[in-house]
Symmetry: C2
DNA sequence: GAGAAAGATTGCAGCCGCTGCAAGTTTGCA
DNA sequence: TGCAAACTTGCAGCGGCTGCAATCTTTCTC
């Protein structure tokens, strides 16, 4: 009864973490090009073959990326009729935050991403998958909302949701970049606050 | 006097085109995984080694990507005081359009991108570089504009420009996706028109 | 128009990321 | 305790990509 999760499962996440940590640390020390997968695996006490059972790519290991998912809980207070922009923005952030893992790895990841543009790109293209996931969730809600059915007119829920996510994603992209440029801002949520405000200002001004 | 460009230069772009064409065609025929670089090079009558003198990556060759740049001409009518959103959007499109080359390769590229998600991601991350380029151009203009100096208040020109590009980039990302989903729309400019309109509607509704 | 300089192409040898397979080991469950 | 499912591992191999040094082609200069 003490073990809510099986030994197997525990072991698995353990080596996952070990591999990610090893990959990130070695990368920070020597640069991604100078760190063979073999070395990463060795540092985590597994074979090279096992490494590729956990990550399909060396870059994924360095960044500690895993399949994004949406926890139903995050959708609890979610209403498309109120502050849709900010809510969607937060939902995006929640997904990224959960799959990227908070913990000490956060600052490590930021430093990695800051130093190596190639990895930055990888992270952004990971964000694309997240956006798609969120888009589907939002589209579903919009489709159910009476308000949007009349309002959005000739556009489908999916089309509208896609655009909403694109706009709502802007603060998050911005926050990504901000955390790269502004090392002192560790907490990306902070950057996100500022970005959302800035977004509103820009939209106001652009009108 | 007949040769405004040197023979060397002509030859170079010739084999560039040949390589890109070979890569794209073979990919459409057999899928990117089943097309070794050796085969692409052979079809373009060059050695494999030469291939890598032209493209740093097989994927780049398939998509025909090259370093993005901003032609000064495109900035002629550009004013940050009027329709900034649409103008920036068009600037983004101009850059992408010029570097991706119009010609017959356009429809080929769309098909490639539609069929292979991995290449789609590559194209998107290419778009990131374009955005950064455009951001710098816009930031410069904003910095010079009296209107923005008073308006944007506590944000720097660079910050503001970054956000503007992010929002203005939304229709373009949307158009990318649209051209993927809606095969009949060959001309991405058309998709862009619709996307910009949709963006305005969404912004209106979201308020 | 000859010869030097600059640029492009090529083969070769080799590193390393990544994969499929088949055998071995560990964990979960009845 | 014994079987099934999950996980690890070694091995052999493909193929993308690189540096290097030799050769060939275009351009420049006088």
């Amino acid at each position: 009864m003490s073990q809510l999760i099986s030994l197997r499962e525990r072991k698995r996440t353990e080596t996952w973490v070990a591999l990610h940590a090893a990959a990130a640390e070695l990368t920070l020390a020597h640069g991604p090009e100078n760190v063979p997968v073999e070395e990463i695996a060795a540092r985590a006490n597994v074979s090279q073959r096992t490494f590729f059972n956990y990550f399909s790519t060396k870059e994924d290991a360095i960044l500690g990326l895993q399949e994004p998912f949406i926890d139903e809980v995050w959708l609890d207070g979610f209403s498309v009729d109120h502050d849709l922009l900010e809510q969607t923005s937060r939902l995006l952030m929640a997904v990224v935050h959960s799959t990227e893992g908070g913990e000490p790895s956060a600052s490590r990841r930021i430093e990695v991403v800051r130093n190596y543009p190639h990895l930055r790109q990888r992270r952004f293209s990971y964000f694309l998958r997240v956006e798609q996931l969120v888009k589907d969730a939002v589209a579903e809600r919009i489709a159910e909302s009476p308000r949007w059915q009349s309002a959005a007119g000739r556009h489908s829920a999916d089309e509208t949701a896609r655009m909403v996510v694109l706009v709502a994603g802007a603060p998050m992209r911005y926050a990504f970049q901000e955390s790269i440029n502004e090392p002192t801002i560790d907490n990306q949520y902070l950057a996100l606050e500022g970005a959302t405000a800035l977004l509103r200002e820009v939209l106001e001004e652009i009108r």
